[in-house]
Amino acid sequence: MTMSKSPAEIFGYSFPDIRETQLLIVGGGPAGLSAALQALKLGLKVTLVESGLELGGQLVKQTHKFFGSSLERAGTRGFRIAQELIKELTPFKGSGQLEVYLSTTAIAVYPERIVLLSQLSGKVFPIKPKAMIIATGAQERMLPFPNNDLPGIYGAGGIQTLMNQYGVKPGKRALIVGAGNIGLIVAYQLLQAGVEVIAILEAMDRIGGWWVHAAKVRRYGVPILLKHTISRAIGKEKVEGAVIAEITPDGLKDKYQVECDLIGISVGLTPTVDLLRQANVKMKYVAFMGGFVPLRDREMRTSQSWIWVAGDSAGIEEASTAMIEGQIASTSVAKWLGYISEEEAKREIDQLWARLGYLREAEVSSKVRKGLEEVLVTWGG
């Protein structure tokens, strides 16, 4: 039998050239940057795509010093960690081992292992990696309350972006909802920027974030009201105030009315898993990890054998653990592609897990530890 002509031959068009790469890393935050560094050190060719204008992800907004372990750069401010990681990547760019695309978003994943990249310039092009690490981070949760769509109401992370990345003071008088780490840190950064913070509201009966961060805002005299939430925002064209309610066994009881022109919502993050969903990666809802998260093995590999995950998109945690997960994923990829032996990979991954264990010892990590029990699997074959 003779081969019939392909549609492309008959109609005279050509498919775009599909660039190939060994490892595609989606997301240039702490997980993606660390994954890239590890993969490059192990000899892989890496393509790193970042949807933002610069690398660093949420790290570039973090003006506070990290703690935990010196191996994870404790004692260094978040944005400096980003600068250090980016600096370490530089030599690999020069040697051609690393390709970085900024303002570039991965918008589609196809079973043929083709990923579509979309650039701010309007260009869309396919790339075909042998392996992919998804490190797309997380998105902020919104809280349903009347008038929550008024201008002046932001996710707390949005406030950080305005202040710490773009140098814009977002208001004069702020109310923060949520006393987790982000709420506490943003409250402190607002104070540093000269914004008055009326109060931090927390629905739970305890502060969710680290005590170090809570103590800093308390020293400024900012009250942290436990078992309180916002019951409504007030305003016509923009936020002019808010009603604060106590959470009682019988429901919300309105208690205070305050004036403010800024409300920061910090009620948790949800992993950004759009691409994992497109790729039909097996997922499970784990409230402790922020929502639907991918099942993964000890090497951060998902149910799709060519896709790994790292960082918040694998379950909400912290930059320090995200960085280690990125290294674990890349070590596993390197093993799969034959760059290191089984034994070398095992030794490295065991060490990285020991560091994760150390960072997850704290009380605030107990939820993460429980969540992991539900998503950590062993893939057959």
Partner: protein
């Protein structure tokens, strides 16, 4: 009736509307998406889907795992059509 609470900012869908349609028997995310256009705007449900998943779980007694998430389809974010029409 209480003040409207917007859950889907792209398509201006309120929590009251969501509850009303759930009580009428539209008890899956796909039903609600089709009848209300919930989660079908530019942000593709980033804000509203987690809220509505919890609301569905509360009102139907199902787990969020059972309720699931909308099917993931390309593109993950908005892209100008022109990007696909020429080189």
């Amino acid at each position: 009736m209480s003040d409207p609470i917007i859950v889907c900012r792209c398509e201006d869908v309120t929590l009251q509307e969501v509850r009303e349609w759930i009580s009428r028997g539209y008890t899956s995310l796909e039903d609600l998406r089709r009848i209300l256009r919930l989660g079908m705007g530019p942000c593709q449900g980033r804000t509203c889907i987690p809220i509505v998943q919890r609301e569905l779980a509360r009102m139907t007694g199902k787990s969020i795992d059972e309720i699931g998430s909308p099917t993931g389809r390309p593109p993950a974010v908005g892209v100008e059509l022109g990007a696909f029409t020429s080189d």
